[in-house]
């Protein structure tokens, strides 16, 4: 009960937080890519759920790594459909996104119920100790006794930051988000770029779901995403649409989730369990309330339908 201030407690919270930050962070990174191109996809929740299902199905067939590939591919298909609907067909992106969120969760549940009579068995990724470094106090436990999959997130973020900031493709993508008319005048096929970024965003969303279900938890359940897709949307705003800021933002929200789980496991310290469960959502809301600068949003974000005229 009185273990609240021990090193052990915070090691568990930070280490668990790092693991939990990976799925939500990868999905948020995908959403960030889409939003920088001007595509707002509210359906991340559904994409993650389908990715989680595909991840578990793929893992049951060919191991956890196969699950990740299956999740990413599934997400890419969902993203392609979404991108086609909102970019090519100019359907209202909020309506379609919301439908994708609810429909995606429903479809994932349906597919899981009809595909498996009992939970499939496979091994999620196991923690790997890095010799030497793992002995460091605090840092060793938090960073160097983790499944290797956690490193995927910073690597992906670095890649996204590089592509967005340093390549011509990234420049065109950002142009589609900030000044689509100018981009079109310079010969950029805005619809195509947006469709492609939507595919990439979907792939990352599906990968995020697969990492959670197949890589970390090791099973699928109806509530496995449980609002993470919507928190991922908020993370993009909290990170001000910058990949580098997504790392601390995701770790923060992951640590909150880990804190909740750890405190619950320790008997609650006299706090109501429900308060702890609500904490990640309340903190996200507070961050939105305090930290949002609307000036940093891609200028064309949420305006797909208007542009077409």
């Amino acid at each position: 009960m009185s273990e609240f201030w021990t090193l052990d407690f915070w090691e568990t919270v930070l280490a668990g937080g790092l693991r939990l930050s990976v799925p939500i962070g990868i999905a948020a990174a995908g959403e960030l890519v889409g939003e920088r191109a001007g595509v707002l996809n509210l359906g991340v929740e559904g994409t993650m759920a389908l990715g989680a299902f595909a991840g578990v199905a793929g893992a049951a067939a060919s191991g956890a790594a196969g699950g990740l590939v299956a999740g990413a591919l599934t997400g890419a298909v969902v993203g392609a459909l979404f991108g086609w609907l909102v970019s090519r067909r100019q359907a209202n992106e909020v309506v379609v996104g919301f439908a994708f969120a609810l429909g995606g969760v429903g479809l994932a549940t349906f597919l899981y119920r009809t595909s498996f009579d009992r939970p499939p068995e496979f091994d999620p990724f196991r923690a790997v100790s890095i010799p030497g470094l793992e002995r460091l106090p605090l840092v060793g436990e938090v960073l160097f006794r983790q499944p290797l999959i956690v490193w995927l997130f910073p690597v992906l973020l670095a890649a996204i930051a590089f592509v967005l900031g340093r390549t011509r493709a990234g420049l065109e993508l950002r142009a589609c988000g900030d000044g689509p008319h100018a981009a079109r005048a310079r010969g950029v096929d805005v619809e195509r770029v947006r469709w492609l970024s939507s595919v990439a965003a979907g792939a990352l969303g599906g990968l995020g779901g697969a990492v959670l279900a197949a890589g970390i938890v090791g099973e699928y359940s109806d509530q496995i995403i449980g609002g993470r897709g919507f928190v991922a949307l908020a993370l993009v705003i909290a990170a001000r649409w910058r990949p580098a800021l997504l790392l601390p933002a995701a770790w923060g929200i992951g640590a909150l989730q880990a804190f909740q789980l750890k405190v619950q496991a320790e008997g609650g310290f006299g706090l109501p369990v429900e308060l702890l469960q609500a904490l990640p959502f309340l903190v996200t809301l507070a961050v939105l309330a305090v930290g949002v600068g609307s000036g940093r949003a891609p200028r064309a974000l949420g305006r797909l339908a208007q542009e077409a005229r």
Partner: protein, 375 residues
């Protein structure tokens, strides 16, 4: 995501629909979908195509993933939804809260406000109703219901006050804030129904639920042997009131604020204030929906009181193209799908398939309205 002045958050899209008369063509920068320009035959054709696609998705998924024959499943869905007196009354019972949330959301949609918080607002409406009737339980039932519904409307609106303030003062998207509040509300409700005086006093009950209301205060049933209750009239009256209100000058202001906030401001309307009012108003309807579920159906506070109605209610408003009466019929349609889906579940088809069909229908409507704009 953007400042209220030019909030574009989205529903402008639907808002544009009715507002096209109100604002000069070409001026309304936020007008995204103008359904009014679609010729009737094209709209009819669109409805047929959407229905066909939805049926196609249903049949395909059933054929590929279940042991049930697709034709049997389709028949089972229709029969379960409206094949008997019981099925029809069950469908109507489920339509009541959907339509209540839907008509409120529809009015807000017209001004470009997406209230996704119906789920939490319903729950808090029911909680507020429960608290309000405690001191007056022995009063005549009509008095108690009136007090309860007023309290529920207030409780729902109160639950949207935070997101409304964040939107108006900080530019936080109401879509995200109302959603996040929903997730927090689930935890709050669990706590209220487990650890506080709202928990069922029966010592053998450990699940999160409240005390049942006196049977005298239950809304009267309309048909013997069914669950259909007098909330049906609340649904019809609410729909009529919103439909009437949107035809008054106030409705014109709503449409104008949704279609073109700048023009609305020039015309002496305060778009931000109007939209905040609509967000709170739609939340009030969600609160009333919660109270109707409480008095008509569950007869006690419970975790299953809302059951996704808050989300589906918004979809219903989209499907009804933000028109109250169309929205009410869309609610009955979605309720039929849900009731039919329950019947299928016993036959081995998971009911979550219904959510997929609903999503397909909503996407279809989003596409169709877009088609309208192009012509």
């Amino acid at each position: 995501m953007s400042t209220p002045g030019d909030t574009l958050t989205s529903g402008d899209a639907l808002a544009g629909a009715a507002a096209s008369e109100a604002s000069p063509a070409g001026e309304n920068r936020n007008d995204a979908l103008t359904v009014t320009t679609v010729p009737a035959w094209r709209r009819a054709a669109g409805v047929v195509v959407i229905a066909a696609i939805a049926i196609g998705v249903f049949v395909t998924l059933v054929a590929l993933f279940t042991d049930v024959g697709p034709w049997d499943a389709l028949q089972g869905l229709v029969r379960g939804a409206m094949g008997s007196r019981d099925a029809v009354s069950e469908t109507l019972t489920r339509a009541i809260p959907l339509a209540l949330v839907g008509v409120g959301a529809a009015a807000a949609l017209r001004a470009g406000i997406f209230n996704v918080g119906g789920e939490g607002q319903m729950a808090m409406g029911a909680v507020a109703a429960t608290l309000a009737i405690r001191p007056i339980e022995s009063a005549p039932a009509l008095v108690v219901w009136t007090v309860a519904f007023v309290a529920a409307a207030g409780g729902g609106a109160l639950w949207a006050a935070g997101p409304a303030a964040l939107w108006a003062y900080r530019g936080v998207s109401e879509i995200l804030s109302t959603l996040l509040v929903n997730f927090a509300t689930v935890s709050l409700l669990t706590w209220l129904l487990t650890d506080t005086f709202l928990h069922d006093p029966d010592p053998f009950v450990i699940t999160a639920q409240g005390e049942s209301i006196p049977s005298r205060l239950e809304l009267p049933l309309l048909l013997d042997g069914s669950r259909l209750h007098a909330g049906l009239f609340v649904m019809i009256v609410s729909t009529a009131v919103v439909a009437w209100w949107l035809r008054t000058p106030a409705g014109l202001r709503v449409d104008l604020a949704g279609a073109n906030p700048t023009l609305a401001a020039q015309a002496g309307i305060r778009p931000t204030r109007l939209r905040v009012g609509l967000l709170l108003g739609s939340a009030a309807f969600a609160g009333i929906a919660g109270a109707v579920q409480l008095f008509g159906l569950s007869h006690r506070l419970s975790m299953g009181l809302t059951g996704g109605v808050g989300y589906t209610g918004l979809l219903v408003a989209v499907l009804g193209r933000a028109k109250p009466i169309v929205t009410m019929f869309a609610a009955i349609g979605f309720a039929a799908l849900i009731t039919g889906g329950e019947a299928l579940e016993t036959g081995g088809v998971p009911r979550s398939l219904v959510a997929v069909v609903q999503a397909v229908l909503v996407v279809g409507v989003a596409l169709m309205t877009r088609v309208g704009r192009r012509s």
